[in-house]
Symmetry: C2
């Protein structure tokens, strides 16, 4: 059963339980680069069941070098594995080479490096403002939850107990009651709501927190599924069922708009099937994103919790008629998984491609010179362009180092996914112009020559080009998505679509068992019943029962 953002199983074919040996961080000249790179890919996608199987040769390799540092160097110097060649290896190469993340010393944990964290900060900055605009306040709940709390809501404990991290020792002593490190906070939130909410005047109560959460996942993949991850979790309490439903819908709309407008990811919004509903919710809404390999990524969820938690925690209020009632609740979350979604939606063979609104560096300036004299004039022009754009609020970086050639820098910042590049050479300075290149339009057709250095013209040109890149990324992803959703009228057609790597969409009125059968036979699950319903036959493609709506099936992360 799915219980949250980061729950679905990923394919996992290789494994190394690599744990870096401190101080041993140099290259192994004896291991071919190809093998080293394979080795890297393996180290992230790991299956605990396989942890026991480890040859002595693998052990020996482990001692030689931490694979991610190697991949970082390889990716930066020779380029990443092309996406078209091996999507999974490309993903891991990009994360290493672009310095988005590294893995922590504990299996399945991740260090988010500055370039990756800056993407998360951009996500936070947009969403935090939206949450506040819609009347939510930030606060903080402790991360340690008494074990007994988790057990109060029946389906919640069923969903979460297999993946809990448990603190049993505090201050050197065995604890009387074990403490769960929060996997999500519904239980502790309800414990506190019960104390704060007395009358209908205390409602609605709308809060949010930006925190770390822990789920003992067996198959991990950086950003997509890690033992510990960062997210925001919103929690609200309402006097009526309708209000809670409105809230859950309002928040999934905030997420949808974020995905489209900021992340340039054309998510499909819809309702989860019963099997895929959050453990403890009445109804789960989701935004589902199609990755570059056409697998689905559940990128954000909003739950109508009904009265499930308020009944379990006795969270009651006195309504305006003087009657005691259980409150109606919602919860909703987006996590660092979204960073993985951005990588896997927009990247190409060269590496990362970041939507301008989330890019830590929107414009990279690369000065080009040969003589010392040229260097002086070129650098001086580059510095003024940099400060002009920064003043205009454009996230700009000047790469003025003389240890690398301009060509190396072009490749490096392309791999890092920077939306626009400005080149300034001696002739440009003489003409008072620059050359601007778009990351999203490959080769010469993405190059624009003779762009005026005049401050007013340049900044307006850059801003409009950033918007064009933003729009273009969304349109490309939208076309890709729509050309990879297939309408199906039978189980056979569904199987064919899934085998071809596509999403299948068809009228559905099957049972949980029918859904499970599809999962077992094809690996695909119901991603959602989309809000936008196409015309359909009205007959379930599986059971021939009357069907009110279509469902979308896909393999997923």
């Amino acid at each position: 059963m799915a219980v949250g953002t980061l729950r679905f199983q990923s394919a996992c074919t290789r494994f190394t339980s690599y744990a870096p040996a401190i101080g041993q961080r140099r290259f192994s000249p004896t291991l071919p680069l190809y093998r080293q790179s394979l080795h890297l890919a393996a180290s992230f996608s790991c299956n605990a069941a396989q942890q026991q199987v480890q040859t002595s040769k693998e052990k020996q390799q482990k001692q030689e070098t931490p694979p991610l540092q190697k991949a970082q160097k390889k990716g930066q110097q020779e380029g990443v594995t092309p996406r078209s060649q091996d999507f999974n290896m490309w993903y891991l190469d990009v994360i290493a080479a672009a310095e988005l993340a590294d893995y922590g010393p504990v299996r399945g944990t991740m260090v988010i490096r500055p370039y990756g964290y800056a993407i998360w900060e951009a996500i936070q900055s947009y969403l935090d403002a939206k949450f506040k605009e819609t009347g939510h306040s930030n606060m903080y709940f402790p991360q340690f939850i008494p074990y007994s709390f988790i057990e109060k809501e029946a389906s919640h404990v069923e969903g979460f107990s297999p993946e809990l991290a448990v603190v049993t020792i505090g201050g050197g002593k065995e604890l009387e009651e074990k403490l769960v490190v929060r996997p999500t906070s519904e239980t502790i939130v309800n414990h506190m709501f019960t104390q704060w909410i007395h009358s209908y005047r205390d409602l609605p109560l709308k809060i949010n927190q930006w925190v770390n959460v822990t789920r003992w996942e067996m198959r991990t993949k950086p950003f997509v599924r890690t033992l510990e991850f960062l997210w925001q979790e919103g929690h609200t309490g309402h006097a009526t069922e309708e209000e809670a439903e409105e809230e859950a819908l309002q928040l999934i709309e905030v997420y949808r708009k974020f995905a489209f407008d900021e992340a340039a990811i054309p998510v499909v919004v819809g309702r989860k099937s019963r099997l895929e509903t959050f453990a403890g919710a009445v109804r789960t809404y989701t935004i589902e994103a199609m990755m570059g390999d056409r697998k689905a990524l559940q990128a954000g969820t909003s739950h109508n919790l009904g009265q499930n938690f308020s009944r379990a925690f006795d969270t009651q209020f006195l309504d305006s008629q003087g009657e005691q009632q259980f409150i109606w609740q919602t919860s909703w979350a987006i996590s660092t998984r979204m960073v993985g979604g951005v990588i896997m939606t927009h990247g190409d063979d060269m590496g990362l491609m970041l939507p301008p609104k989330l890019a830590p560096v929107q414009v990279i300036i690369i000065p080009i010179w040969k003589t010392d004299e040229e260097k002086e004039t070129v650098l001086s022009a580059a510095v003024s362009v940099e400060s002009l754009l920064k003043k205009e609020g454009v996230r700009t970086k000047l790469d003025a180092s003389d240890q690398r050639t301009p060509g190396w820098k072009f490749n490096f910042w392309e791999m890092k996914g920077v939306p626009l590049r400005i080149e300034i050479g001696p002739r440009d300075v003489a003409n008072n112009t620059v050359v601007v290149s778009r990351r999203d339009v490959p080769g010469k057709s993405g190059k624009m020559f003779g762009i005026s250095m005049d401050p007013a013209e340049l900044q307006s040109f850059i801003k409009s080009k950033l918007q064009e890149v933003q729009d273009n990324l969304l349109n490309i992803a939208l076309a890709f998505r729509d050309s990879n959703i297939e309408d199906v009228g039978s189980f056979e057609e569904l199987k064919a679509a899934i085998t071809a790597g596509k999403w299948a969409r068809g009228p559905w009125a099957g049972s949980d068992a029918d859904e499970t059968k599809i999962k077992e036979e094809t690996g695909a699950t119901i991603r959602c019943f989309p809000f936008e319903q196409p015309p359909h036959s009205g007959r379930c493609f599986m059971t021939e029962n009357a069907a009110k709506e279509v469902a979308i099936f896909a393999k997923s992360y």
Copy 2:
């Protein structure tokens, strides 16, 4: 030994191991309010050694009502315990009544409520910008640290091992290696630095993270010392000792400036004594704040770590001469403890008094009407004043509810520490004026009548008054601090000063044993060797040895 921001012992005289029973949250009409309030105060300041001693009467009281909810209601309706009467109880009353925090279900944990969290957000917003301006990047390290890491640096393990929370179960299984929930991140940071840093070109490496940390404290007090708290921790690596020292000094200056300019807390900046230095540091710089009860609060620290961690973790780089060298490091932190410092510096008998720069609500607007007709005109004027000020970036709130009298609202928002109040009645509307009251100037002298409602005039008036309140709070605290530091020339004089509740300042060249003796006999510790050294005799007041500098002694939180 002191090992960080939240380490010093607080006085602890009362205790109740209260754990709220779910659903039992109503008032007990049989328990006098005075007792209920005592009961509340007791519940926060707890000593684990006393946990065993608990009378059945206390147990019975526990069942009746969660004390903080009671104090919240009492404080909001009858006012908080006056500060002049009982500082500790006032502190807890204010936290409850102003809804700054609540305690979590696990002993010593704290829920930070929206009004308290908004103060923390204001602190974050200022500091985060300063860290970025000075070249630091945010990132995220996992919170689970292999137990073996903690043991690598000798004094670090000695300082931290008594207060660790330890995860021993993950995903339902006993873990092979126990995991520490981070009490601070030097060890895991060094583990990663060792992998990222190869040459002098990789230095300096300057990062920061905003995270939760856990220390199994026995005596807790909301904000001041809690089992889990929020902080930022900066970590840097440098090629030279001088650069690391400069960095440590630069950051303590960032903290000093923050304390003065934003929190209006006139901290004393200085160097810690050897005994009070962070576990693992060569040198610790500190900002020490004088609370309203004249106890010292260590409000932020910056550590020069030397090569202690780089040697323990083998973090080396190739210098420009091609030699392997250990890096030089710093770390520095400010935590949610600062919120406690703000409360205890500026509050008065009425409750909280917030410096405008950190106040979640800077201006509260209270409309006053009798008839429905008056209500309409008054509210319409109040709404335009509100939207004017909000547009100008002033954090403004309009309390338009008709369930409370204006008098009740005056008291409530005074207790919440809002710097400025705007009153608007029918006569004000007729005159196109408002009445403005300052929180920091009690009674009629703080009231300013006939302030024009003209947008340009009003917004500039409000802004300048907010700055006046900000400056006045700092000046009051500064005068208070300076009148409570006494220069001492002998141990006897020190004892007298400490007994009188003051800070003692005198030339010091004593040994660790001498320092310990003072602590044992007076309860005071060396807070710091202040950067601003007054003229002094040059003879240690304790040992008569030649003394180069004065130290400040005080009792502390």
